[in-house]
């Protein structure tokens, strides 16, 4: 019983630390993005709240909490209220399988630096990514607005088509690591990160993950110019904040997964594991901000062409080649 309680306490502690860290990081990634985007456009970015605008995320949070939560008259009440939680929740849940560092040994007890080491961790990640589509679709549908509806239809089409490329691009990594567990995948990169062995898979993964997170240049579901703001047009206050938060948590998930699958996860010299993971997440996010500052939005047919006619065939060819190389070796 005592053992069980200790284990439970440790688990709760880990969950608490990860949730706090992820939410805090999400808030400050917004600031990082606004600052960096400003610099890319020869502006300054937010600098009024606190020094260097460091209190800006808190100010934004207070503003969102204090705003009125409006619901359209024709909206489907329950689904409308529920949809933002799906997006944020699934994004947060993905972090359960991301390994943060090597096992700790405290008082003769082995504490893995991951909330849960699932042997089907990868499938779990994709399951969560697929579920987050529901948040977008339900949110858009329940809003009873044509813009939200169009946005969510686009979102569903885009996320489902890019999920294929996303999944297929990871198959070579699984073949190399010989496991679906994220912990084992990081272990398999002890010698060299997989980005050196699988550059094509890395590119496909990164592009389709960006499409999955609905960011510029893949932000068709929330295209401001065409759809107001797409599937969350009708949301306001903290419910909009949940969508926003979910998006930034999803970006972190993306950074963490890119780090785990291709950049060696928490592995790195000198610094402790969690710091390396953090550094790699921030690196990936910075790259995404750079892409956002540079590329315009795709047209819908270009988006579908890129996914179905280029990324998926390329991923399939990559799997075949990897297979031949592995058998040859």
């Amino acid at each position: 019983m005592g053992l069980w309680l200790t284990g439970y306490a440790i688990l709760m502690f880990k969950i608490g630390v990860i949730l706090t860290g992820v939410l805090l990081l999400a808030a400050y990634l917004v600031l990082l993005e606004r600052k960096l985007l400003g610099r890319f456009q020869a502006r300054i970015g937010p600098n009024r709240a606190g020094i260097f605008g460091l209190l800006q995320p808190i100010a934004d949070g207070i503003k969102l909490l204090a705003k009125e939560d409006v619901m359209p008259r024709g909206a489907h009440r329950r689904i409308f209220l529920f949809a933002p939680a799906v997006v944020t929740g699934t994004a947060l849940l993905t972090f359960a399988v991301v390994p943060m560092g090597p096992d700790l040994h405290l008082g003769g007890r082995k504490i893995p630096m991951v909330v849960t080491d699932m042997n089907v961790g990868l499938l779990y990640v994709f399951a969560m990514a697929s579920l987050s589509v529901y948040g977008v679709v339900l949110g858009g549908w329940a809003s009873d607005s044509k813009y939200a509806m169009l946005g969510s239809i686009r979102g569903a089409a885009q996320m489902i088509s890019y999920e294929l490329a996303l999944g297929l691009s990871i198959v070579p990594v699984v073949m190399l690591a010989g496991s679906l567990s994220l912990v084992d995948i990081v272990q398999a990169q002890a010698g060299r990160p997989f980005v050196l062995v699988q550059p094509l898979a890395f590119v496909i993964f990164f592009v389709s993950a960006m499409a999955e997170s609905k960011r510029i240049p893949f932000d068709l579901p929330e295209a401001e110019a065409e759809l107001g703001s797409g599937y969350h047009t009708e949301y306001s206050g903290m419910r909009f904040g949940m969508f926003f938060l979910g998006e930034y948590v999803q970006i972190q998930v993306l950074g963490a997964l890119t780090a785990v699958f291709f950049l060696g996860g928490w592995r790195g010299p000198f610094l402790p594991g969690p710091l390396w993971l953090l550094a790699k997440i921030v690196l990936v996010v910075t790259a995404m901000i750079w892409i956002r500052a540079t590329l315009p939005r795709f047209r819908y047919d270009q988006l579908m062409d890129l996914g179905w006619k280029f990324l998926i065939p390329a991923a399939l060819i990559n799997i075949v080649i990897t297979g031949f190389v592995m058998v040859g070796i």
């Binding site: 960096l36 400003g38 610099r39 890319f40 456009q41 020869a42 502006r43 300054i44 600098n47 750079w290 500052a293 540079t294 590329l295």
Partner: protein, 178 residues
């Protein structure tokens, strides 16, 4: 193949361009900390200037009020002991003013002028209404040495007949008889 070279090339150019801007530094001027000196002829708050003698220029001719497209200028004309017209009261509603400068163009005496000072926003709308005392200044504004009465051609206590600029001295019509 050609297409691919083109795609990679345009991607690289794009990313290089944005990267360059990071090192260029921001072009933003932080407003309350740094106030850009505005050109003397930029149009903002309206003043009523004085002539070089220090007397008020405004002759209450209503031309500015008539020219104003948003009808934000109102006044009441009066006449003093020396026979000069002046505005008994003069009121500009800055809540309405669009700073177009038409009043300044219409003014025959250079009395009403727009200045570069623009920081007079207020939460209380009644504070946007400026009375004559708020508008009057004791300098000539942009028109340094123009005095309307030098050119008016109207004799008064300060300038007798022939005392105006470019005006010949009065002629005794009787000596000029043929």
């Amino acid at each position: 193949m050609r297409k691919w070279v083109w795609i990679v090339h345009s991607l690289c150019t794009g990313f290089y361009t944005t990267l360059k801007h990071i090192f260029r530094g921001p072009a933003t001027e932080l407003y309350p900390e740094y106030k850009r000196p505005l050109p003397a002829r930029s149009r903002a708050r309206i003043i009523l200037t004085a002539d070089p003698d220090g007397r008020e220029r405004c002759v209450a001719c209503y031309l500015c009020s008539a020219a104003c497209p948003v009808d934000c200028i109102s006044m009441q004309a009066a006449e003093n002991q020396q026979g000069r017209r002046y505005a008994a009261w003069f009121r500009i509603n800055f809540g309405r003013c669009i700073y177009c400068g038409l009043c300044e163009e219409a003014c025959p005496t250079s009395a009403i002028q727009l200045t570069p000072s623009f920081e007079h926003a207020d939460r209380d709308i009644m504070k946007m209404v400026a009375e004559k005392a708020d508008l009057q200044v004791n300098h000539c504004g942009k028109d340094g040495n123009y005095n309307f009465y030098d050119h008016a051609g109207v004799a008064d206590a300060f300038r007798p007949k022939g005392g105006h600029a470019n005006e010949a001295p009065p002629v005794n019509v009787r000596t000029n008889m043929p």
